[in-house]
Symmetry: C2
Subunit: 199 residues, 2 copies
């Protein structure tokens, strides 16, 4: 009988070490490279259209909005939770701060600016937060009590939400060029009718 | 008076050389790097969820479907247009061919397989097609007459459409983790109600 048949109490105890921060930053860390792969040197014919026809955002606006998040939201709110808990609500987030700030910047410049800020913020997050902090609570000005875990998950999903807007704007720029195939392309149909289903 | 004041007939003639193929392949060329930046080594906690709750696709399905397009659709149809015009309709595209074919492949393997096929197909496209061919016509089995220009635009927008599905699935994997912030995240709200508007 080999040694393997003798139960080893150490090996049979499964230790599940939570790695929520590592798994969340795995997404956050990807966004700059993703935006570079998608946007740097992309011809203007793909970048001059908004995600939806009315009050939509061009890729330039979306990257500007992501920059605002890095400047004023995610790490500021992380620090607020760690320093004051629920006693002092978060500052409100200005969803349109990019409009005036980024007028003169090219899309490529915005992508590189975002990449620098994201790298700095992930380094700060690494210094500030460990798994034991994730259930600490803060006060959102309209949503009420939230946890640090929810804030970090939202940071990552917010990236995914807004990068999807860039895809919708890029697709929309070629709405006419696809001709009759539009009937099969949900990304185009939903720009005009959110409940449309591709054929 | 400087030389600049003398109109130069050569300079005042604006020659617009069409570069539709270059601008379209600029997007097609980016998709492999984009999928690598997004998916390689991404923790399973982000990749095991479908884009919509019912009959949706996981990232594994989406990359498989993109592989099917490279194997049987875009270049095959390009050749059909060049060889037979509208005389022979395109073969139908099997939207579910990936389901059995890719069962044993990891997501990372699929991404690399797609990248190889895309590189080969862009090289073939470069040999096959020039700007003068773009108005040549083919016969789609259900949509009727289409142009080569429409086929190539659709190839690129089809990439954008399906990569967006990957984003929706990744976001959906953390639907619960964002807590009350879900009310602000359209990418999550639309998975359950396509016409939902984020607060």
């Amino acid at each position: 009988m080999g040694a393997a048949a003798i139960p080893d109490p150490l090996q049979s105890t499964i230790v599940r070490v939570s790695n929520f921060i590592g798994e969340t930053t795995s997404v956050l860390r990807r966004t700059p490279g993703l935006l570079r792969a998608l946007l740097i040197d992309l011809p203007d014919s793909w970048t001059d259209t908004t995600d939806v026809p009315t009050d939509g955002w061009r890729p330039h606006d979306v990257v500007g909005h992501l920059i605002t998040g890095e400047l004023t939201d995610w790490i500021e709110r992380t620090q607020r939770i760690l320093e004051t808990g629920t006693a002092v609500p978060f500052d409100k987030f200005d969803r349109f701060a990019h409009a005036e700030r980024d007028t003169d910047a090219t899309l490529d410049e915005l992508v590189e600016h975002f990449a620098r800020l994201r790298a700095e913020n992930l380094a700060r997050l690494d210094e500030l937060v460990s798994e034991q902090d994730l259930d600490r609570r803060g006060m959102h000005p309209t949503l009420g009590e939230v946890t640090l875990r929810e804030l970090l998950a939202t940071w990552a999903v917010h990236d995914l939400d807004h990068v999807s807007q860039i895809f919708a704007g890029m697709a929309g720029s070629h709405d006419a060029e696809v001709g009759p195939w539009k009937a099969y392309l949900g990304i185009l149909l939903r720009r005009e009718d959110p409940s449309a289903v591709a054929g």
